[in-house]
Amino acid sequence: MSNKISETLTFECETGNYHTFCPISCVAWLYQKIEDSFFLVVGTKTCGYFLQNALGVMIFAEPRYAMAELEEGDISAQLNDYKELKRLCLQIKKDRNPSVIIWIGTCTTEIIKMDLEGMAPKLENELGIPIVVARANGLDYAFTQGEDTVLAAMAHRCPEQNILLDNKKVIQQDSAIQDFFSFLSLEKKEETTNKSLINLKKHAPLVLFGSLPSTVASQLSSELKRQSVQVSGWLPAQRYTDLPSLGDQVYVCGVNPFLSRTATTLMRRRKCKLIGAPFPIGPDGTRAWIEKICSVFNIKTKDLEQREQQIWENLKDYLDLVRGKSVFFMGDNLLEISLARFLIRCGMIVYEIGIPYLDKRYQAAELLFLQNTCKSMGIPMPRIVEKPDNYNQIQRMRELQPDLAITGMAHANPLEARGINTKWSVEFTFAQIHGFTNARDVLELVTRPLRRNNNLENLGWNDLTKKEKQIKLN
C-alpha cells in the first residue's frame, strides 16, 4: 500500500459491500427526541429483529415505536393495506394518543410498492392525527440517513412563515419557540421578547436542522447567542407541535453531515436559504460553523478564537495521547469526514475515510475545511472511499496497521483479536459530540481503546487468534 502525500483529496468508490445499521434505526433516537411522536415501522420480522437487538434495553421501556409486521397475506395482497394500517393506527391512537404518527417505509414496502404516501393523507383525515411518511429503507440508505428521510418528510409539515405580512405575530411566535429552547423563565419573558426583537432586526430568522439531545441543542443555541445570533427554531423540535416556521426569508443550517436530503428539501420546497458550513464537531468545527453563520448575518464574532483556544487547552492531556497516532475509518455513519478533520487537527494521521455516501455539495465546506486542516497540519490527505468494501479494507488495514480503527461492531472484536485497537463507530452517533462543550467527549471515545491498551500493553498477549487462521488469512 503506497502512502503517497497528495495535495488534493482523492475520492474512490468501491463495491458497497460494507456493514452498517439499517436506516430504520433512526427511530431509536428520534422517538426520544420528538416526545409526542409514535413511529410505526411497516416491515417484516427481519426489521423487527434488527430493532429489538440493536436497541437492546430500550425496547423494555415501553417505547413509542412498534412494528407493523407484514404477514404473508399482506405480501400477496390478500389483505387490504389501508384497512390493516387503519386498524393498527386506531389502536395506537387509543393506547398512546400521539400528536403525530410517523410511518417508516422499509425494503418490503418498496418492493411490493405499498403506497404509503397515498394512504397517509386519507387516513390522516379519518383519524385526525398527522401521519408523516419516511422511506428509510436499506435499498437506498445507510444508518443515519434514516434521520435524513424523516426530517425531510417533516420539513413539509413546518408552518409557513411570512415576515412581511405580519411582522409582530411572527416575532412573538419566534420568541415562543426561542423560549422553549433556551428554557427562559416566565419572569424574564418581557425582557427576552424585547431582546429578541432587537436581535431579529439584526438578522433574518435562523432555523437549525438535525436531531440532537436537548442539552446539546441548547448548548449550541447559547454559543450562537453569545455572538448575538438568535436561533428561531429547530427541526426537529422537542415536540411535533412545536415545529419551526419556514419560508423564503428563513436561513437554515445543518448540524450533522448526513442531512443532505433535508437540506435539499428545505431549499427547493420551502425556499429557505441554506448556510453551507463545516459541522460543529470538535472545537475547530464549532468555531468554523459559528463564524460561517455570523458571516452570513454580517455579525463580527467576538472572543471566538479565545474560546476555541481555551477548549484546546482543556484537551491537552488527551491530545498528548493521540498525537502522531494513525486512524482508519471503515465508514458506516457519515460522520466520518467531520470526525477525521477534527482528529487530524488533534495531530492524528488518517489513512482512510470510508463513508457510505458523500454529498459533495452539502459537505463542500467540510471537505474544504478538511483539506485546509491537512495542509496546516502538514499531514497527507487521506483517501476518501465511498461505498467501501469491508473485505478490501481489512486487507489494507493489515498492511497499514493503524493505531486505531473506527469500525462497526461486526468487525471490532475480530480486529481486536488481531491486535488492532478499535472504537465502535455507533458510539459517535449516540454520544454527545457537538459544540465546544462536548469536544472532550469525542476524544474520550477515541482515546478509550488507547488508554485501555496502555494498561494491557505489557502483558504480551495482543494477538489472540489461532496461528493456523493467521497463516491462512495472510
Binding site: 417484516t44 423487527g48 412498534a66
Partner: protein
C-alpha cells in the same frame, strides 16, 4: 399486519446463518439489502467471536430492484470462493429477496460450475418458518447434501466404529449455553465409554459429514434443532437416535437408559449396564438430588412459579421444578408454536395451565395475574419480572450478552443439575429476602443522603438551570450537580445558570 413490539424467535435467515457459520470453513452469502447483516454484530458481540463472521451480503439495492441481480450474486459467490476458499457457500435468501422471486437456484447452479466450493441455496420460506425451524431445516439440508454427494461418488463408508460411538447433533452458535452443554455431553459419553464421532454443526467440517453414519447412534439434546437431521439419518442409514434432553436428574437418567438400549442392541455379547453409574452420579456426584432433600429446599415446597421459554428448556425446567423440587408450576408455556403438541404432552401433569403464544404481552399478563414467587423464562420475562418486582432466572433464549458466560455453566448432564439447582434456589431466596425486607422495613443501614460537598448550600440554581439539570439522566445528575457547584464555588459564583453548567463541564471535564 400485526402490531409487534418484540419477538421471541427471529426471522428464518438467522437460523440458516447460525447453522452455516457454526460449521468450520463454510461461508454464507445473504441476498439482502444493506443493513441486514446484523447477524454479524450479534455473533461478534454476544459470542465475543474472535474471527470474522463468515457471512457477507450480496447487496440488494435500487439497481437490483429495477433490473434483477443479474451477475451480482454469481460474482459475489465466485469472489468469496477465491478469497476465502470455503468448503461450502450457502446462498441465504431473506424476506426481501423472497418477495423479489428471483431464481436464486439458477445463480447457485451457475456459480457452482465455476467455483471450487460447493454451493447450495438454503431452502426456507421466510413467511412460514421462524429462526429455529429454519436452523433445523438447514442443518438437515447440509447433511443430506454431503451424504448424497458421498453416495454418488462412492466414498460413503457405512461401517460402524469398533467401539460404541455417538454423534452429537444440534450444538450451534448463539445457542443458549450450547458450548458448555456440549462439553458436558462429551464428558457424559466419555464416562459411559462411548466415543464422540462427530459434533455438528458447531466446529464440524462439512467434508467430514460423510462419516456421520459410522456412529452407533445420534444424540439430539435439543428439541429445536437436529431432529430433522436425526430422522433423516434414521430413515436412510438406519441410525437410531436419542432425543430425550438430559436436563435434570430424572431425564438425564432416562437419556442414559435410552443410550444403553441402543448400545446393547449393537453389542454382540457383552451387555453394558449403566445403572450403577446413574446411581453413583445421582446420589453423590450431582448435588441436586441431595439438595432437594435438604432443609433449604423444604422452604420452596408449594411455592408458585411460572415457566416460559423454548420448548426444550421450558418443558425440562417445568419437570425439574415440579418433580425434583416440589415447586408448584402455576403456568408453563413456550413460544415454539410449531411444537405445541409435543410440549403439551411433555408438561402434562406437571403444571396447572399451559400457555402457547409468541406474544410477550400475553405472557406478561399471565404473570401479573398469577403473581408467582419466581419466574423462569427468557430475557423478556426477566424484564417483566423487574417491572412486577418478581425475581426471574433466565433459562432460555432469546438472551443478552450476560447469558453467554465465560465460566462453565452447562444446563445438561450432572453438572447441569447443579447449575440449575443454584439458579432456581437463588431466584427464590432473593425473592424471600425481598419479602422479609419489606416486612421489617428494609436493611438496617442509614441511607447515604448526600455525597455532596455542600451541606448547607449558599448556591442558588435559577429556573432554567434547574430545568436543565432535571433533563440530565438520573444516574449522573448528582455528579453533574456536585461538579457544577464545586466549579461555582471555586469561581465565587452564587447563582448557577445554564451557562455556568456548561462552563463547569468544560472546566472539570465531567
Amino acid at each position: 399486519m400485526k402490531l409487534a413490539y418484540w419477538m421471541y424467535a427471529g426471522p428464518a435467515h438467522i437460523g440458516t446463518l447460525r447453522v452455516a457459520s457454526s460449521f468450520k470453513n463454510v461461508h454464507a452469502i445473504m441476498h439482502a439489502p444493506l443493513g441486514d447483516d446484523y447477524f454479524n454484530v450479534m455473533r461478534s458481540m454476544l459470542e465475543r467471536e474472535r474471527d470474522f463472521t463468515p457471512v457477507t451480503a450480496s447487496i440488494v439495492d435500487r439497481h437490483v430492484l429495477a433490473r434483477g441481480s443479474q451477475e451480482k450474486v454469481v460474482d459475489n459467490i465466485t469472489r468469496k470462493d477465491k478469497e476465502e476458499r470455503p468448503d461450502l457457500i450457502v446462498l441465504t435468501p431473506t424476506c426481501t429477496s423472497s418477495i423479489l422471486q428471483e431464481d436464486l437456484q439458477n445463480f447457485v447452479d451457475r456459480a457452482s460450475t465455476t467455483s471450487n466450493s460447493d454451493v447450495i441455496l438454503a431452502d426456507v420460506n421466510h413467511y412460514r418458518v421462524n429462526e429455529l425451524q429454519a436452523a433445523d431445516r438447514t442443518l438437515e439440508q447440509v447433511v443430506r447434501y454431503y451424504l448424497e454427494k458421498a453416495r454418488r461418488q462412492g466414498t460413503l463408508d457405512q461401517s460402524l466404529t469398533k467401539e460404541p460411538s455417538a454423534n452429537i447433533i444440534g450444538i450451534f452458535t448463539l445457542g443458549f449455553h450450547n458450548q458448555h452443554d456440549c462439553r458436558e455431553l462429551k464428558r457424559l459419553l466419555q464416562d459411559l465409554n462411548i466415543k464422540v464421532n462427530k459434533v455438528i454443526p458447531e466446529g464440524g467440517s462439512v467434508t467430514d459429514l460423510q462419516s456421520l453414519p459410522k456412529a452407533w447412534f445420534n444424540l439430539v439434546p435439543y428439541r429445536e434443532i437436529g431432529l430433522m437431521t436425526a430422522i433423516y439419518l434414521e430413515k436412510n442409514f438406519g441410525m437410531p437416535y436419542v432425543s430425550i434432553t438430559p436436563m435434570g436428574i430424572v431425564d438425564t437418567a432416562e437419556c442414559i437408559r435410552q443410550i444403553q438400549k441402543h448400545v446393547n442392541n449393537l453389542l454382540p455379547n457383552k451387555k453394558v449396564d449403566y445403572e450403577p453409574y446413574i446411581d453413583q452420579q445421582t446420589r453423590f456426584v450431582s448435588q441436586a438430588a441431595w439438595f432437594s432433600r435438604s432443609i433449604d429446599c423444604q422452604n420452596l415446597t408449594g411455592k408458585k412459579a411460572v415457566v416460559f421459554g423454548d420448548a426444550t428448556h421450558a418443558a425440562s425446567i417445568t419437570r425439574i421444578l415440579a418433580r425434583e423440587m416440589g415447586i408448584r408450576v402455576s403456568c408453563t408455556g413456550t413460544y415454539c408454536k410449531h411444537d405445541t403438541e409435543w410440549f403439551k404432552e411433555q408438561v402434562q401433569g406437571f403444571c396447572d395451565e399451559i400457555l402457547i403464544t409468541d406474544d410477550h404481552t400475553e405472557v406478561g399478563d399471565m404473570i401479573a395475574r398469577i403473581e408467582p414467587s419466581a419466574i423462569f423464562g427468557t430475557q423478556m420475562e426477566r424484564h417483566i419480572g423487574k417491572r412486577l418486582d418478581i425475581p426471574c432466572g433466565v433459562i432460555s433464549s432469546p438472551v443478552h450478552i450476560q447469558n453467554f458466560p465465560l465460566g462453565y455453566r452447562p444446563f445438561l448432564g450432572y453438572e447441569g443439575t447443579n447449575q440449575i439447582a443454584d439458579l432456581i434456589y437463588n431466584s427464590f431466596t432473593l425473592g424471600m429476602e425481598d419479602h422479609l425486607l419489606e416486612i421489617f422495613g428494609g436493611h438496617d443501614t442509614k441511607e447515604v443522603i448526600t455525597k455532596s460537598l455542600s451541606t448547607d448550600t449558599d448556591l442558588t440554581w435559577n429556573y432554567e438551570s434547574q430545568l436543565e439539570l432535571n433533563k440530565i439522566p438520573g444516574f449522573v445528575r448528582g455528579k453533574i450537580k456536585r461538579n457544577t457547584e464545586k466549579f461555582a464555588r471555586q469561581n465565587n459564583i452564587t447563582t448557577i445558570t445554564v451557562e455556568i453548567m456548561y462552563a463547569a463541564k468544560e472546566a472539570l471535564s465531567a
